[in-house]
């Protein structure tokens, strides 16, 4: 073999070895694709936009710290418009065309119910950050998880702080949006409020359509009623218009308006100085004290989106979902779907809203507590924020609020 041939052979072998050695490194360096599907437009756009901003911030921060399992994260964003069919289409497109591996969904209960079987069909992990319907428990499957609180927890929490903070409440009118979430959360608020305060009289129930943008007719109706309190579960444009027009009728001088919406901060951000001094609560409160992780999140959020900006319900829940996903992948040591699912089941983590435990048998996360507070102006913000920040204990009442229920049964050890 001539010297020239020898050198060429050695060189070829070296190139081949180098290729084989670096191949796994190239694979390791491939990004983990995480899809965020949410309503960037439509009546829940404020939730989706915050969720999207949170996921983009999470992507940046995770990648700055070396990614997950030494792989960068790439977040893909899809607009479901809060329409079930669009949500399903986006999920299919993301999984089949963009090859997205994991999903976080933040939007409407209707989209969640339509998407759960599709996630199972696609065999992809789908974590719900918004979409609180209790029908989730009938539709959940091996691939789907929910971090946001179920309507029984929301209803319980809201009724609890209402009964504590509004002792003069006697005659109540409810106004909730006429769709899956509105009907469901109203049923639980009413159930628990009646339990905590049997002296309260239910005077009326109003059900505006989610397409309603002009609430004058409802405001006139409420202003003319013999009531002392309006429990409002409407949100977005409906809530803004309702509060403005109740005030125009002079109704807020004699009627207490309680905003029981799960994303109260969004109402305050829009109404600014027209906000009402209501107590309010939800899944996430940026001003809860004593949670270093939350302080860090709020600081990073302000750095990214401006000093007067704060994450609300849509942002907070997306952040918690992202942490669940990251922790599970790291615990599994792989992005293999089934291994990540096993890692998520029973996982307990510290989050920006306290400790959360992902129940093994129905894939519903349970918080240690739920936050609430009172809206008041603050010199650092152009809108009212939650003050007198407090908590409702949930962990010790879990069995009472959401009893363990055997779900469709993909695990033999699900409780009966």
């Amino acid at each position: 073999m001539s010297h020239k041939v020898k050198v060429s052979s050695l060189f070829s072998v070296a190139v081949l070895v180098l290729f084989l050695v670096t191949l796994p490194m190239v694979t390791w360096g491939q990004p983990i694709k995480v899809g965020y599907i949410g309503p960037l437009t439509g009546f829940l756009d404020y939730l989706g936009t915050e969720g999207k901003d949170t996921m983009k911030l999470w992507e940046k921060l995770v990648n700055e710290k070396g990614g997950i399992l030494a792989r960068p994260v790439k977040v893909y964003v899809y607009d479901c418009k809060a329409i079930p069919q669009v949500g399903v289409d986006m999920l299919r497109k993301a999984a089949l065309e963009d090859k997205v591996e994991f999903f976080i969904y933040g939007g409407s209960s209707g989209v969640v119910l339509a998407s759960l079987p599709v996630a199972q069909e696609l065999k992809t992990v789908y974590i719900v950050s918004q979409g609180a319907t209790s029908k989730y428990f009938d539709a959940v499957n091996q691939y789907t998880f929910r971090m946001v609180q179920a309507t029984p927890i929301l209803g319980y929490t809201e009724a609890w702080w209402m009964s504590q903070k509004y002792p003069k409440m006697k005659k109540v009118a409810y106004i909730f949006p006429d769709y899956e979430f509105g009907r469901d959360v109203h049923a639980h608020v009413k159930k628990y409020l009646t339990k905590f305060r049997p002296d309260i009289q239910n005077v009326a129930e109003l059900w505006p359509a989610t397409t309603a943008v002009d609430m004058k007719a409802y405001a006139a109706q409420l202003a003319g009623m013999d009531i002392d309190t309006v429990v409002g579960g409407v949100f977005g444009t409906m809530a803004v218009s309702l509060v403005k027009e109740l005030r125009a009728f002079g109704a807020l001088d004699k009627i207490e308006y309680i905003d029981s919406s799960v994303s109260s901060l969004d109402l305050a951000k829009t109404l600014r100085n027209e906000m009402v001094p209501t107590w309010g609560g939800g899944v996430y409160d940026a001003f809860q004290k004593g949670i270093p992780e939350n302080d860090q999140f709020v600081m990073e959020w302000k750095k990214a989106y401006g000093k007067a900006s704060l994450p609300g319900g849509g942002g907070g829940t997306a952040n918690i979902c992202a942490k669940f996903l990251r922790t599970a992948i790291e615990k599994a040591g792989t992005t293999d779907t089934l291994k990540v699912i096993r890692a998520l089941e029973g996982l307990t983590i510290d989050t920006i809203a306290g400790k959360f435990k992902m129940r093994e048998w129905d894939h519903q996360a349970i918080p240690e507590w739920m936050p609430y507070g009172k809206f008041a102006p603050h010199p650092d913000y152009p809108y009212w924020i939650l003050t007198q920040n407090s908590r409702v204990d949930i962990a010790s009442r879990e069995e009472e609020i959401i009893p363990a229920k055997r779900s469709p049964g993909w695990r033999a050890n699900s409780p009966k």
């Binding site: 756009d45 505006p208 397409t211 007719a217 003319g224 803004v240 027009e245 109404l271």
Partner: protein, 289 residues
């Protein structure tokens, strides 16, 4: 059974809804009557009116009255540009082209609004003097702002009647609406008249948007959300008839306000129910020819 006080309050609410609808539908009607085009971009001018009121009254910190005067003029200027740059090119084309173009303007404006203001709802506060309510019949209180909206709509209605019936411009507009080629032959500068009518229609929609801004949350798709009600008001009153659009708007406003209380489960379809009833009984609308 509805109490007298609730009925009275819903009538006031209905008149204020009808008043806002009339401001938008009257401009649409004039443009349809004179130019003969289905200008769906008209609702964009309504949204632009609301957003420019926000820019002036909130972002730039002027008071509401500055926005009330300036915003419709800003919208009129936008209308002038749309007419000169886009609409003028499709006057001779069939309605499908005009429809596609004007819908394109609606969606393009919606995207631009989202880019400029974001997708989150914005609000404009009512001016202080109009923010309270006054005692009225049956022990009720009526928001002064609703009376202001009803008053503005009534004044615009009277002004339009005077303009169309008692002035030379009105005569030219009516003549062109009746037979534009004859009007042209008689020396009327038809292209200029079209531009003026379109600009004036945009001003009316802008005024409607400014008046609506303190009663709702501003969203990029707020124009799309009002389009069906505006069309229904025109169909009910009779397409192309200005008095018809006034009557249609008022009937629809009252129907929505009272129907929401009487038929709460049908609140989403109230508008279509009324339009269907009117079209069945009188397909040309109440004052349609």
């Amino acid at each position: 059974m509805m109490s007298s006080s609730l009925l009275f309050m819903e009538i006031v609410v209905g008149l204020s809804i009808g008043g806002t609808l009339f401001l938008v539908s009257s401009g649409f009607t004039i443009i349809w009557g004179v130019l003969g085009i289905p200008n769906f971009a008209h609702v964009t001018f309504y949204a632009l009116g609301a957003y420019s009121a926000y820019s002036l009254a909130v972002a730039l910190n002027y008071n509401f009255w500055v926005a009330f005067v300036i915003s419709p003029l800003v919208v009129a200027a936008a209308g002038l540009l749309v007419e000169l740059l886009l609409l003028r090119r499709v006057y001779a084309r069939e309605h499908v082209c005009q429809l596609l173009l004007t819908f394109g303007v609606v969606y393009a404006a919606m995207e631009l609004t989202t880019m400029a203001y974001g997708p989150i709802g914005l609000t404009v506060a009512k001016p202080f003097v109009l923010s309270k309510s006054v005692p009225a019949f049956f022990g009720t209180r009526v928001p002064i702002y609703y009376l202001f909206v009803i008053g503005c709509a009534a004044l615009v209605g009277l002004g339009l009647w005077f303009l169309l019936q008692k002035t030379r411009w009105g005569a030219l507009i009516r003549a062109s609406a009746f037979d534009r080629s004859m009007a042209g032959a008689m020396g009327v500068n038809v292209p200029r008249l079209f531009t003026l009518v379109f600009t004036f229609g945009a001003w009316l929609a802008g005024l409607g948007g400014v008046l609506m801004a303190p009663m709702t949350a501003l969203l990029p798709d707020m124009g799309i959300l009002v389009i069906l009600e505006v069309l229904a008001a025109m169909i009910i009153g009779g397409l192309g008839s200005l008095p018809g659009s006034a009557i249609g708007s008022l009937i629809l406003g009252l129907w929505i306000a009272i129907g929401t209380v009487i038929l709460p489960n049908f609140s989403m379809v109230l508008t279509f129910i009324l339009a269907a009833i009117v079209l069945t009984i009188r397909p040309r609308g109440i004052l349609g020819r």
